[in-house]
Amino acid sequence: MPAVLETPRVMAQKSESVLGSINRMSALPFVGDDPEDQHTVNNWRGDWDKWDNWDQWDQNR
């Protein structure tokens, strides 16, 4: 079994890195809310333009 650490080696409570990641995620849909989930086999185009928010994501960077 991989020997990954069970607890963070650096305490995370005040990490701005975590805060930034959490806030960026608000641009992404929740799993289950994404129409692409139902369309990926029959509709290979997906629904990228509506949901992926690439532009917004890039701006957040």
Partner: protein
């Protein structure tokens, strides 16, 4: 729609230690013809998406020559109702002021392949004469910065990288001043031919965990909300109940296409080494016909088959059995165990943060599937 285009196929001016194309023909440069390029752009404009992302890839895509890309953007301009988003992944060896001015003028997003500090990069990435490449790449990165052309970066990690993971992240952050990059991993599944010839470069599951630990430690310790290590962000998204962005988490395999120099279309660039994996050819059909065809559809259906272990895993909606190209003979994602550990660890970090009342968007926190059954 996202299409990866390989205008010179797998041909490259480097001989990277881990390249999964190195065993293929590297003696003949064959470039996509102008007529085929024009047809590709026309086909992409007709698939029905108002935005088309083209990722120019290789091999080394700059070997196609500047004229090739000048023609590409000229053809794209014939379809003003389509928003073409051009991105290009390069080893940066051939970059010069002329290329940089072109990319800047036409808004190309540039990704550079750099494996960390000189010590590890030059072990991995030598040119065809077995000469080191770090200094040449750094010089050309300097040209890009002088021209204010922003770029992304992909670091490839092998077992040889392990002692250098932390210092490489520091190098990207401190010396290059980057605030986002991605990390790829080399294992037996991702480049079987080369790993067979040098097994010491393959990351084991234990190695992978060690690399993730180093990345997570660096991510936390940097204490910078602008910092994005793409691979880690996928786990953060999952911990918050959000849909990760990367294909090897999303389960959207088959929604992309990869077009080789001869017009062969594949479902992914990881699956374009064998002609039998092709789902069609643009010289015989158009892109919509190929993507709606039986071979593409069968691929999409097979790619979505989960392993029985997935059915009792709380992380399944965020993992979807990983990368299709990296499943074992039983159809299980090879890094399932590692990935579950990292999901759990990042979830602990993220939810710990939320419980401490950090100043984040409250709607983003607390949606992790942490209450599901332990598997």
């Amino acid at each position: 729609m996202i299409t990866i285009v390989k205008p010179i196929g797998n041909f490259c001016n480097l001989r990277c230690l881990y390249c999964f194309y190195a065993h293929l023909d590297q003696n003949h440069l064959r470039r996509m013809g102008n007529d085929l390029l024009k047809k590709l752009i026309r086909d992409l404009s007709e698939v029905g998406n108002p935005k088309v992302t083209v990722i120019w890839h290789g091999g080394e895509p700059l070997l196609a020559g500047l004229e090739f890309y000048q023609l590409a953007v000229e053809e794209q301009s014939r379809y003003p109702y389509i928003q073409f988003d051009n991105r290009l992944q390069t080893n940066a060896i051939l970059l010069d002021e002329e290329w940089i001015a072109f990319f800047k003028e036409h808004g190309f997003g540039i990704g550079i392949s750099l494996d960390g500090t000189r010590q590890i990069h030059d072990q991995h990435r030598k040119d065809a004469g077995q000469n080191p490449t770090f200094d040449r790449i750094m010089k050309n990165i300097g040209l890009m910065r002088e021209a204010d052309l922003k770029f992304g970066l992909i670091q490839t990690t092998t077992a040889k990288s392990i002692p250098f993971v932390r210092e490489s992240q520091e190098f990207f952050y401190q010396e290059l001043g980057l605030r986002s990059w991605n990390v790829n991993f080399v294992d037996r599944a991702s480049c079987p031919e080369n790993v067979s010839s040098d097994p010491s470069i393959a990351l084991s599951d234990d190695d992978l965990c060690q690399v993730y630990d180093e990345l997570i430690d660096f991510w936390l310790a940097s204490d910078d909300r602008r910092l994005i290590i793409d691979e880690l962000d996928q786990f953060v998204a999952a911990a918050l109940g959000r849909k990760p962005r990367c294909c090897h988490f999303r389960g959207c395999c088959g929604n992309f296409s990869c077009v080789d120099y001869d017009g062969s279309v594949y479902p992914c660039d990881r699956l374009c080494s064998s002609p039998e994996d092709a789902i069609g050819n643009l010289q015989e059909s158009n892109m919509s016909e190929i993507m709606n065809g039986d071979r593409a559809r069968k691929f999409r259906i097979n790619a979505r088959v989960l392993h029985p272990d997935c059915l009792v895993c709380k992380w399944q909606p965020f993992c979807n059995n990983g990368c299709t190209a990296m499943r074992d003979s039983n159809g299980k994602y090879r890094h399932c165990e590692v990935r579950r550990k990292i999901f759990d660890r990042v979830s602990l970090i993220v939810n710990n943060y939320g419980s401490k009342g950090g100043e984040c968007d409250a709607s983003s926190v607390g949606n992790a599937p942490g209450d599901g059954p332990e598997v």
